[in-house]
């Protein structure tokens, strides 16, 4: 089933981590396996890249990940550090958030694709996000558990998208959890509710164009598909419109960039989405109860129609 939620504040910064946590917690019944947050904050105010990455998996109860000796995490992290230095980057700030996940601030001014390939050449290592604004966190558990684990309720920002996952197409692990980073573009993330039926055909075509997939989750295809479009210079909204024709299945997805948030609904309109729009806030979720965590008073909401694509700016 899965639940997705997103919100964008126009012209102001709020406690975006806490707001998205509350929205996703309200959608917990739609997907209790894992929860993911893509929060768009202020970065480190120095214009450096923020890289969230993991060098292993969470093997908590319910996870389908393989148990590993924790000692391998230190070794992998050292390899990551070496690759950053070798590529001409420098680590400004680093934090270990769990035994297997890290947040780095990095000075780097060369090709991000080359950078990402080198970092992810380290065994079991995956960049969850790389950008100057995006903080992407995903892990096993509901929104409250993940938020507490990573201290997300204190992150300030303008917009965010998130996902509560019921695993149907792939395993219960972090790499199959949403959101997906739009590799290799900085600050692009995607969450999805639905199923894609032409996943393998599209995946093979995109891999032949040099795009990378980290999981076998069909939702990752949307992030990679949009990233490939953007790499060719296609505008985000146009790429989203193309996706309605070229991706087969039933889906509603949200995509966010440094300064915008968009939604798309397939032509069958088989997956839910409720929208609230005002002059200073746009909020959306698979169910209205997610929006009600922000706005308990009576509000006017609506369902977007089949084949609808919308994009909002901060």
């Amino acid at each position: 089933m899965c639940g997705i939620a997103g919100l964008i504040h126009k012209g102001k910064t709020v406690n975006i981590g806490k707001e998205l946590q509350d929205m996703l917690q309200a959608l917990k019944h739609r997907g209790p396996d894992s929860t993911g947050f893509a929060l768009y904050g202020q970065g480190n105010n120095q214009g450096d890249y923020i890289m969230r990455f993991k060098v292993g998996e969470n093997v908590a109860e319910g996870s389908s990940a393989v148990n590993e000796d924790k000692s391998v995490y230190d070794e992998r992290r050292k390899q990551v550090d070496k690759h950053i230095r070798d590529l001409g980057g420098s680590i400004v700030n680093d934090a270990q958030l769990t035994p297997y996940s890290f947040r780095y601030c990095i000075k780097y001014n060369k090709d991000l694709m080359e950078f990402s390939k080198r970092i992810e050449s380290v065994e079991m290592t995956e960049i969850l996000s790389l950008g100057k604004s995006l903080e992407l966190v995903k892990d096993i558990g509901d929104a409250s558990v993940v938020s507490k684990q990573y201290g997300l309720d204190k992150i300030k920002g303008t917009h965010a998208i998130g996902h509560s996952r019921m695993a149907t197409e792939s395993g219960v692990d972090i790499r199959s959890a949403h959101p997906f980073w739009g590799y290799p573009f900085s600050d692009v993330s995607v969450v999805h509710n639905g199923q894609l039926t032409n996943y393998w055909n599209n995946r093979r075509a995109l891999e032949n164009k040099g795009m990378r997939f980290m999981s076998e989750c069909d939702s990752e295809l949307i992030a990679v598909y949009l990233a490939e479009k953007m790499r060719r210079g296609v505008a985000l909204k146009d790429g989203m419109k193309d996706s309605l024709k070229e991706l087969d299945g039933v889906f509603t997805y949200l995509v966010a960039t440094k300064d915008s948030l968009g939604m798309a609904k397939d032509t069958m309109a088989a997956k839910p989405m409720v929208l609230y729009e005002s002059d200073d806030l746009v909020a959306m979720g698979s169910e209205e109860i997610a929006i009600r965590t922000l706005l308990p008073q009576e509000i006017d909401t609506y369902d977007p129609y089949d084949g609808e694509v919308k994009v909002w700016q901060i």
Binding site: M268, E288, Y305
Partner: protein
């Protein structure tokens, strides 16, 4: 027994087969009526009125409370702060004036048989699913699967509705003041849908029977859905229905498009009416 062959309802395209012999008397003998009772249905007094604040109630608690109030004979109940919660007001099997001051989530007022419900906000997916009788009036918008599989009653949304409105409906009337999404009337078997605004793709896809009236533009007709001529009976009925529904009273119904089943898809000719009923 009534013979409805060539009746007005048949001329409006509501059904084709002869309904002779299908009266309730076949199943219920009035002399034995005292032996039948409807479990969970109560006699209520409409003048007995009360309010419930749903703010801190779960949907189960609220529904329990509604049931207890009807048992006590309350006939008019106002529910404040429903706040988009799911499955509120379901399974009400008696007459009742029920007013929700706010919005409902998914599966609101499903499986009801008799109450008159007014909702001042919007409703989520599958509102009034499996409704048997009564009237539900929504002041704002509604989500997808609006009135799925209803068998009777009037379901009215003054705003716009999502996709698959009236999917699998077997009777009753759905009236929408605004637009409707894709697959409106998908696989409908009986009943009538009135959309005053535009509708999305595949209108009436795979419909067995029933009638759809559209006031605005139709993006595309679904498989086996065909346009039909609007009759004077249709116009009379539409005017009356919109008036009763307190919606679109000044709407020019003569320019509406009527859509019915083409009857090519389901091999109707090979089935006797009784077999057709079984197949449905």
């Amino acid at each position: 027994m009534a013979n409805l062959k060539n009746s007005k309802s048949q001329s409006m395209g509501l059904h084709k087969e002869v309904l002779t012999g299908r009266t309730q008397q076949v199943f219920f003998n009035p002399e034995e009526a005292e032996n039948f009772f409807y479990y969970g249905a109560y006699d209520v007094d409409f003048n007995k009125r009360t309010e419930i604040d749903a703010k801190n109630l779960t949907c189960a608690k609220l529904n329990d409370k509604l049931n207890a109030l009807m048992k006590e004979g309350y006939g008019t109940v106002v529910v404040k702060n429903p706040q988009g919660k799911h499955s509120l007001g379901v399974g009400i099997l008696n007459k009742l004036n029920l007013i929700f001051e706010g919005s409902l989530g998914y599966f609101g007022v499903g499986s009801i048989d008799g109450p008159v419900v007014r909702i001042t906000g919007r409703v989520g997916w599958s509102c009034a699913e499996n409704m048997m009788a009564g009237k539900v009036m929504i002041e704002k918008n509604a989500g997808s699967c609006f009135g799925a599989a209803i068998r009777g009653g009037d379901l009215i949304c003054k705003g716009s509705v999502g996709a698959r409105t009236g999917i699998d409906m077997k009777g009753g009337t759905i009236i929408v003041g605004g637009d409707a999404g894709a697959f409106t009337g998908f696989m409908m078997q009986r009943g009538r849908i009135i959309i005053l605004g535009d509708v999305g793709i595949n209108l009436g896809d795979s419909m067995y029977d029933g009638t759809i009236f559209v006031g605005g533009k139709i993006k595309s007709l679904g498989s086996d859905a065909v346009k039909s001529k609007l009759s004077s009976d249709d116009i009379f009925w539409l005017r009356r229905k919109l008036k009763v529904a307190e919606i679109g009273s000044d709407f020019d119904v003569t320019r509406m498009t009527k859509v019915v089943a083409g009857k090519k898809l389901w091999n109707y000719d090979a089935l006797e009416p009784s077999e057709k009923k079984g197949a449905i």
